[in-house]
Symmetry: C2
């Protein structure tokens, strides 16, 4: 009986891989790389490939379609879980690599739901999350002192849910602000938070852009790979 490692490889910089991830990727027999369709390639693998010195390791791509068709997704997750289970049952140590951290919106968890952990021993290796990378890049605290932090991937339906998050949280990370941005912009204006947001796109890449002007935000089409950090700024330190 082998073992399954779910390994977070961080936000994109190959140096933001942990020492543990690097060691395990050189010890396992098989590395599974998620790709959105056959031949598309795996960004997670691009991050770690320079760290892999073990020439015997087998690289297997697993398909994870980028859509919201739940039935099709579940079929695919189940198939991928079967592939992994069979490899572990024939004694292989295997690693599933995933962007960021495996416990935060990762494909690894969806597969894990369909793996019987009584049969397949599982160990998760945490990784650097995208939102920590964003805050680091901006030299800003994500959250400090007695403040709280909300991570919101996509607004739940309705202004009401949205209002509650804005009401109750000092710091908010919106993971997909390109999704219906008008309501978001209206909230920023309504609450006098025009100067309290930062939109960052393709963080850490050559194509990175940063927007802090509400008028620019209102006029632009927010790209897909964007994150918005809102800091209400309640906690100010005496200078």
């Amino acid at each position: 009986m082998g073992k399954l490692y779910g390994i977070g490889v961080g936000p994109g910089d190959k140096e933001l891989v942990t020492i543990k991830a690097k060691r395990l990727l050189n010890e396992v027999d098989i590395i599974y790389c998620p790709e959105k369709k056959e031949g598309a390639g795996s960004f997670a693998f691009d991050i770690v490939k320079d760290h892999i010195e073990n020439e015997k390791v087998v690289i297997k791509n697993l398909i994870f379609p980028m859509n919201y068709n739940k039935d099709a997704l579940i079929t695919q997750w189940r198939q991928n879980a079967e592939i992994i289970t069979k490899d572990v049952e024939r004694g292989k140590n295997v690693a599933f690599i995933t962007l960021g951290d495996p416990t935060v919106y990762s494909t690894f968890m969806y597969v894990l739901h369909y793996i019987d952990q009584k049969k397949v021993p599982v160990e998760i290796v945490p990784g650097i999350t995208s939102f920590c990378a964003v805050a680091s890049r901006l030299n800003l605290p994500l959250v400090e002192w007695e403040e709280n932090l909300a991570i919101v991937p996509k607004r739940k339906k309705g202004e009401e849910a949205f209002n509650k998050v804005f009401d109750s949280f000092d710091n908010i990370i919106f993971m997909k602000p390109n999704n219906d941005p008008e309501v978001l912009i209206n909230q920023l204006k309504k609450r006098g938070l025009e100067n309290n947001f930062i939109l960052i796109t393709k963080c850490g890449t050559d194509e990175e852009t940063i927007v802090t002007d509400i008028n620019v935000l209102a006029d632009m089409k927010i790209p897909y790979l964007s994150t918005m950090l809102i800091k209400k700024g309640g906690q100010q330190w005496e200078k």
Copy 2:
């Protein structure tokens, strides 16, 4: 002119340090280690000391008292910021190490408020957060699909604020559940979430304990180094 690096060293496992952190700690002239009082030692330094091969590096401890006396804290932060600024101005490359991630409740950010970034170039290196380490340890998703996540360090005063967090979030991390646990336990009971929490103390150490029984929780004195993960479990996958 040197440069200041704020470096996250992760939750405690020396292998959960990034490759970038390890490289920089071997390149800088000075490493600052936070300690709560003189001679107390630095947990952050314990995590990285085996990675430091550069014999010329100077280790400096900086005092960060563990209390909530804001005036005293600000005086200390300012003093520490001055020490760092002087070292950088005389051309030294320096690293401030901090547990977890530098942007999440870290001492580094408090010092950074008192450093003039026009004079001192600053780069932050993200680290693995404690809450990602906890979820990994438990083989549980912290947050998935369209769910959201709240990080709450210490309840704001009043049942009302508490209610809003429970109302609006699918997943909640309480960082200091030892602080007034009765209200927390009452909320779990009131909302039928008796089986939806996990309390983990001293995660990843030899003294780690895990509590999932509400009656045990109600009868115990919750230790200081505890984290509670609450998963309302809205998103269930078809098996």
